[in-house]
């Protein structure tokens, strides 16, 4: 394995790790606001590292640009999503979690008829 390849695999590995960590975070964190954190970290960093790791093997400039574009879009999307959800949650009066509260509340069915 060449140095570049090693470098690539390290970067990609780190990115994947971020994703795994993000997933675990989403799973473990107690409320909406904290989960948004986990999500955005995974998105931005994880995908970013993966993309950077793949850049040397992209083959052409166009492909590399496309990869970067994907990352940019993902950044944009996750930022936007995080912002929108957090804002909505605030406006609806969803209170942030504080230490000592139960982490997950019992589930209620909210189906419309």
């Amino acid at each position: 394995m060449t140095a570049v390849a090693l470098f690539q695999s390290l970067l990609i590995g780190a990115g994947v790790a971020f994703f795994v960590v993000g997933s675990i975070g989403v799973l473990r964190f107690p409320d909406v606001y904290t989960r948004i954190h986990a999500l955005t970290k995974a998105d931005n960093l994880g995908l970013g590292l993966v993309v950077i790791g793949l850049l040397p093997g992209a083959g052409s400039v166009a492909a590399a640009l496309k990869l970067l574009l994907i990352w940019g879009l993902a950044l944009l999307a996750s930022a936007c999503a995080g912002y929108l959800v957090a804002r909505a949650a605030r406006r609806r009066g969803v209170e942030p979690w504080r230490r000592g509260q139960p982490r997950q509340r019992p589930e209620r069915s909210g189906d419309p008829r």
């Binding site: 574009l69 879009l73 944009l76 936007c80 912002y83 929108l84």
Partner: protein, 238 residues
Amino acid sequence: MKRYLLILLAALASLAVCAALALAVIERPEARTDLPRVVAHSTEHAGAPHPITAVLLDFRSYDTLLEVAVLLVAVVVALALREAQPDGPDRMGLDNPLLRAVMSWLLPLMVLVAAYLLWAGSTRPGGAFQAAAVLAAAGVLLRLAGVRLGGFAGERGARRLRALLVLGPAVFVAVGAGTALGGRAFLDYPADWAGGLILAIELALTLSIALALLSLFRLAPPQSDVERLPERRRRTRE
């Protein structure tokens, strides 16, 4: 009790279907034709080098035409129902400065990507439908962000919308009729023209499909067309 019976019935039915399918999958024989090879061989003579596009718009173009018709049927019904009984005034969507900023990036990109997919379609994966879906997504995004698609509002807008909706299949049929009148089989493109014709059809289809998908979204096209039919009496039957 009735519920459990229903579940039992459903389970039995789905098990039966699964079992039958499983048997069919296991027992299936070798196919007698090698269609992929035929396709690969014929793609050279088709209007598009990408085999799937060749199948969709050349070998089985008739299927594609009917498929667009299916989409159009759904749209016609949606428009008819919407006009006969308009949705009540509904909130337009989420108007938010950050969202606007994001959209000012996203929308041009979406149009660009759609164009790219359309262009790429003849040589590599992509094509009219995928491009149209991205375009439609752009429209939906606009609507969700509270932008009125003013071009399709009012009576003239509605007519414009319909004209664009019909454009794709109309071009398709027109090309077919042209080839037929030229003494060839229906939709049998002349060899020199095949690529161009396919591209033209795809272009028109993209517009129409995108608008069709957008029209199926509840708030689009804008529903100010309530006043569109002033001269028509609204009788309720039944």
